[in-house]
Symmetry: C2
Subunit: 401 residues, 2 copies
């Protein structure tokens, strides 16, 4: 079996942790598997490098920033290879040049285009564990690039796809994907498996252990992923394409408290108003989530939407400059609570059951939005945990599947 294993910065943060990871990899290697390891920079070292750069230049050229940051992963992989050597196992550390990991040209936000597998294959054939720098690539100018947030997960999935690996294990500090955040919902239960689409919705909602980019890539190439803990040997959660038969109706409950509701009252009810409004916001890179538009009356209509807490004031300012309306109101004390489940697209009563749970708990729903496999409600922020528990209980998510 060919296994790609990805470990984040915390997992390689010091000597003992490096050896812990080395031993886990060697365990699989000694069972006769081919093992490829993808690593992030140690601990918070990327932040240390960013601070060094900012001290020199508060606005450093992105190309040079990537040149600096890529040293972090290179150090991790070199040290890991040394650890494996000291345990008597042949290993080889490779960086983005050596792989080679081709990306788009965009420094700091590059996307993987193509991975040469020759070198990796050659090293695997020589029965070495291959340790690869996550997060980094090279572009057509032969310059280093970095992949931005979630980069190392994406590297791991891309390598698994390129090598047609049997499994891509993403090691993290949690046991897997839960039906809800266990810190907020005591009865939350670890899921044995979720579908790519469920994982994508969960990631978007901030419940995600995985970054969306890596899940999208895994879905596209059918890479079988597992999310599991680097601290224990529990089985983790498998992320894969699920057949309908196996699907639970609802897989989990997620909440995002970083939400603000902006209500624009008394806009002129004429064609193009919504376009004008959201176009102005998009130009300033303000991401809009839920949108509610009232039915027009007396030539006026209201539009409400949600954005991040951080963007709310800027959104208000832009609307005041560009639009004509009667009143605008911002409420930052709101949160989004969602249920996610691949089974709900064929189960009509799911949303109603969620609303019932909230009604029973006397929680008012401010806005609603849905996708094929998700229902999201906007509620008062102070009710977030109560809502999550009420919904979790209603769908009986704490019981084994």
């Amino acid at each position: 079996m060919l296994i790609v294993k990805k470990f984040g910065g915390t997992s390689v943060g010091n000597r003992d942790r490096i050896f812990n990871v080395a031993e886990r990899c060697i365990e699989d290697y000694k069972k006769g598997n081919d093992v490829v390891v993808v690593l992030s920079a140690m601990g918070k070292y990327t932040d240390v490098l960013i601070d060094m750069a900012k001290e020199i230049n508060p606005n450093p050229p992105k190309r040079e920033m990537d040149m600096l940051l890529t040293t972090g992963e290179q150090q991790s992989v070199a040290l890991m290879s040394m650890a494996m050597a000291s345990l008597g196992v042949p290993a080889v550390a490779l960086n983005a040049f050596q792989v080679a990991m081709h990306t788009t040209s965009a420094y700091s936000t590059a996307r993987i285009k193509r991975i040469d597998t020759d070198r990796i294959q050659t090293e695997l054939e020589q029965k070495k564990i291959v340790i690869i720098t996550g997060f980094q690539g090279i572009n057509k100018y032969d310059d280093y690039t970095t992949l931005g947030r979630g980069g190392s997960d994406t590297t791991a999935v891309a390598i698994a796809a390129a090598l047609h690996a049997d499994l891509c294990e993403i090691y993290t500090d949690v046991d897997g994907v839960y039906t809800a955040d266990p810190r907020k919902v005591p009865t939350a239960r670890k899921l044995d498996q979720v579908t790519y689409d469920e994982m994508l919705e969960l990631a978007t909602l901030g419940a995600g252990v995985l970054h969306n980019r890596s899940v999208e890539l895994a879905k596209k190439y059918g890479v079988r992923m597992v999310v599991r803990s680097s601290l224990n040997t529990s089985q983790g959660t498998i992320v894969r394409e699920g057949s309908k038969m196996e699907k639970m109706i609802v897989s989990g409950v997620a909440a995002d408290t970083d939400a603000a509701r902006v209500a624009v009252i008394g806009l002129t009810d004429e064609p193009g108003v919504a376009f004008k409004l959201f176009n102005a916001l998009a130009k300033q890179n303000i991401n809009i989530d839920m949108i509610l538009q009232s039915i027009g009356r007396h030539g006026k209509k209201d539009i409400s939407f949600t954005c991040s807490d951080e963007d709310a004031d800027l959104a208000k300012q832009i609307i005041e400059e560009r639009m004509e309306f009667e009143d605008i109101d911002i409420d930052k004390h709101v949160s989004k609570v969602s249920i996610v489940g691949a089974g709900m697209q064929s189960n009509a009563g799911v949303a109603a059951k969620m609303f019932e749970a909230l009604f029973d708990a006397n929680i008012n729903i401010r806005m609603i939005s849905t996708s094929e496999i998700r229902v999201t409600v906007l509620i008062n922020e102070k009710n977030t945990e109560r809502a999550m528990n009420a919904i979790h209980d209603k769908f009986n998510l704490g019981s084994a599947e």
Copy 2:
């Protein structure tokens, strides 16, 4: 003019020093010169990385060690490029892959084979300052190598040779090459120029500001070098091929206190004894310097030689195991004092004048060795500084040329 400028770790050890170097480079750039900068890792960062590695594996694989160490220079060049950008000058940082800097395969002790100049030329044509990682290369396996001691100086000279640069400036913490160590000889004077051969002898004698490898390379390709201070703007010392007319008879006095004398008394006087003795030492990598063999008498002869203090006891042990003799004596309280000068090969009285200076100072000469441009004497270590001053005065080296 195309200038290659090399700065060591101390010169880029912190933010202020990085900016100091950036400004010096920009000064030349603004005069219309093409500027290539070669940097070492910051301060003692290479040692930090070595310690990290040893903590993981006391005997780390050399390939992985080089993979780790090369991150040091990559950080320096990236930060320097950011500093130049903040001063409004376009710059680009390149590592061994990007250059590309081809070396032999030997990890940790690689030698430069070939430097591609395409990328450097392209960047220079775009009027950028090009900042290159010293000390590192890549081998035919596409793996990082490092060049060992004096590596960054060697990188700078090799790049200057490959680009046919007009000048290769080696910045250091001293003003240049002196007639003697100013800490020991108060009247020591900075030399405006020395020949490659003189510099080679001085480097060998430990007086060297430059490592021999870089000087040999400069001599081979006729690269005009300057050794100068990164702390001030004094002119430094030019190292170049000198015509005889310009040569001083003696350029400088150097001393090496890391010397021990081993005397082997009463060896059998038969052919092959010296071979057997020095072959045994060579096999254990003990470097031998001065050798004195007595004229055989009564079927016996004595052989004395010098080695480093550190190797003396091992040398004694090897000789005791392998040779037959009457007595062996080690004296670690000796030092080598040398005069170096390209002019002395055509000036017969130079050695005699040196011996006269020592006689006047009542200093006993224990051994003598000479090369075409050097005379070295072994003396009691406690007389080292007195001998240097006596010789320095005798040759009137403190006066301007």
